[in-house]
Amino acid sequence: MRLFKTILAFAVLLILFNLLNDSQGSIPPLGKFLNPFAGFWQNGEKLDQIDEVLDVKGLRDEVKVVWDERHVPHIFAENTYDVYFAQGFLTARHRLWQMEFQTHVAAGRVSEIIGEKALEFDRMQRRRGLLMAAETTIQRMGEDPETHLIIQAYANGVNTWIESLTPATLPLEYKLLNYEPEVWSTLKTALLLKFMAWDLTGRNSEMDMSIIQATLGEDFVNTFYPENTPRTEPVIPAAKPWRFEAMEPDSIPPAFVPQFVQDLRKGEPDEDNGSNNWAVSGDKTASGYPMLANDPHLGLKLPSIWYEVQLKAPDMNVYGVSMPGAPAVIVGFNKDVAWGVTNAGSDVMDWFEIEFKDDSYTEYLYMDEWIKSDLRVEEIFIRGGDTVLDSFAITRFGPLVYFGENTLENGHPTGLAMRWSAHDPSNEMMAVRNMNLATDRETFYAAIEAFESPGQNFAMIARDGDIAIRHNGKYPLRGRDQGKFVRAGRDTLGEWQDWIPYEQLPAISNPWSGYVSSANQNPVGKKYPYYMGWDYDDYERGSRINDRLGDLTKIKFGDMQDLHMDNFNKQAELMLPFLLKQIDLETLSGDMDVILNDLHSWNYVSDPHEKAAWVYKQWWVRLEKAIWNDELNIFGEIRKIPTRSVTARLLLKKSRLVYYDDINTPEQEGRAEIINRAFKQTIMELTDELGPYGEAWELGRARGTDINHLLSVKGLGRTGLYTGGGQGIVNATKKNHGPSWRMLVELGDRPTAKGIFPGGQSGNPGSPYYDNAVNNWVTGKYYDIHFLDSTDIDLNSKLSLTRLRNYQ
């Protein structure tokens, strides 16, 4: 009996040990997690937790760090190595888990952390060649001694922080997921840059366009998916003459119907990854100095996407936001120049159908010959499972991302290869470093030439008064519409032939209007000789910004702030009066009269309290579906629908159109009928979802904004934020997406600046600096940015000092 009790006690103990020492599904290992000596209880942080002196192994000299009231580090170093070392050290101190996790996502290594459920994701990341591209890039970066120095210094700083960690000080998420950080390498920085390139250039509609063209015809595509969409005011004014001799692409590839059908849009980045930026000359500002504004729109997450920092070394003093995991300042200013970016949107990713000899995928047909492909073997480690080996072919058209069951009519296997500019070697880190050092427009332009991918519209101002914008990046030379469809990868036709010469890229400086701006719209008008893409953002944001900048004079920061927060819905202004006229009042029921009245009296401003703003948005979406979702339902998928402006033009101009009819009903629907039907459907569905017409229908409540934690752990994000704005609105805030950093800079004798991002400096959910800026971000408030010249600070101010003391 005694023996039995003993065995039983040990058995229970063993079970308890296993239950509490290992994760159970999504539940963390509770023994470790609840342990008050090393578990989550140790992740609390106080507001005043700043060390006066820190001994840091690996520095060359002492580094001083001034912390401001928002916990932004202002790093003062005696040499270049130390400034980036300290940046790595301090960024890791605040953001280690985030920066490492993002590199695991980029490299397709999530299965190592969460197990087999991430295998498909990892496989796709590998096949898209992100890791391959990062390896190529790190090699290129290594060839430049200065780049090598800064990424290595940063990595050393990160690793010094990692070495200082104890089980108690490990960031919370490692405890939640039960793993530990690995050594940081320069490859991880390259991976982050490639991930950024993927996030901003990874959308493509080639397969949809090929299918639509094959099914509905060339006219349909040309009419409804034009290169120049209605009402778009290009980034570079369309009237600008282009005084250069343009290169001529060799050939226009023939139409081609792909036999390998694959949903390329699955897992692609958000369609609204974009931004606003503008610069105004001193002639238009109250102070007489040039001003710049920028707000990159990205998926909103906690920890925040950006990390604010000032970097001061003997040859540099720069302030702005950095990407946790990469050195230097990506968007910011120094005393001479300020810059902001928006996504270029030009097409740098094309798809090619490749014919292989057999299912070993080692030879493919090119110029009537079988040529060898390289096989890349990826090792995917799976937590709690066997390692998976995944191999895929690399062709001259890029990695074979999709392949499998499909064969061509001749029995040969086939697949889709992805040609992407980000696969080519480049050194964006050098560009960023030189941007940080730039002193005027010339040196800034010289710097950004190396920023090849992702392509960005760089708006800049200089202290000497220059304002400029450049559609920057490395873009392939192609025939018109060449990248619009999937092409046959079997000969030189359709292949990228060359690159558009850098000096011929669209750019403008000091225009007579006194301002430049961009909002992801088409960079150029029809006169520009090169084809750069067609799938740009619609006209509304760009047009609204230009309207306002055109009107404004004696501009102050407050005007810029108002424009960042501008909720005017140009699309509603264009369409709502017309749509309301079509409503048949006789057939309305319930609250519809009241709602219609609210729509009539709405001023098109999508403020958070506006119910009409949400009703209109939902009505428009249903109307688009009514027009397009029948014809464009091809092979079981709703294919890409035309842009808002194209649909709007049709509705306004064509009272009769075959596409208004729902091909799935016996009746013949007309324009008024679908408009009325969509309206009623909207009201009925919103009533079901939100209850009777009232407070719950306000834009800020019905949609609002949720900033979730990167792992979507409930309780670690900020949800239910009362926001306005939306798609096609300058304040491009959506449910989970929006302005990730709002920055305003004026370059006078000394730069003055304001900024805010929706989160905080710390990545620790237990820190008061984790989400301290969220409420102010929601209401459109900004913080004054402290651009410091020295560490001589008034100790009565809200600034405090930490000395990072070098010790060996």
Partner: protein, 118 residues
Amino acid sequence: MINILVPLVIVFILQLIFYSWWWIILVPLVLGFFEKDSALKASAGTGLGVFLLWFGMAIYQWKNGGEIIVTRIAEVMGIGSGFVLALATGLVGFLVALVAGYAGFSLRKVLIKEYQIS
């Protein structure tokens, strides 16, 4: 009282230095083994000692800069308050140490019996 204080102090020192949670198994197991008199003293004593340590330490962390993290984790775990979370932490410690203390005590009894027979 001593049966409660000894495990509390030993586990406290070991966890301060070595962090690992399983000290609340190992220490009660050993202490239970050397407890000659009663199973109750071995198990409940170590259980209560660890309970007081974990609960007390959790409360200390909570009240010393841990307000934000505790509120968040309470929400993540669907637990009403920091106090309940600290109590749950203490109870996990109690349960584990209780079983470990009993297992240690029980093992000694078996080994001694075997020894006496042989």
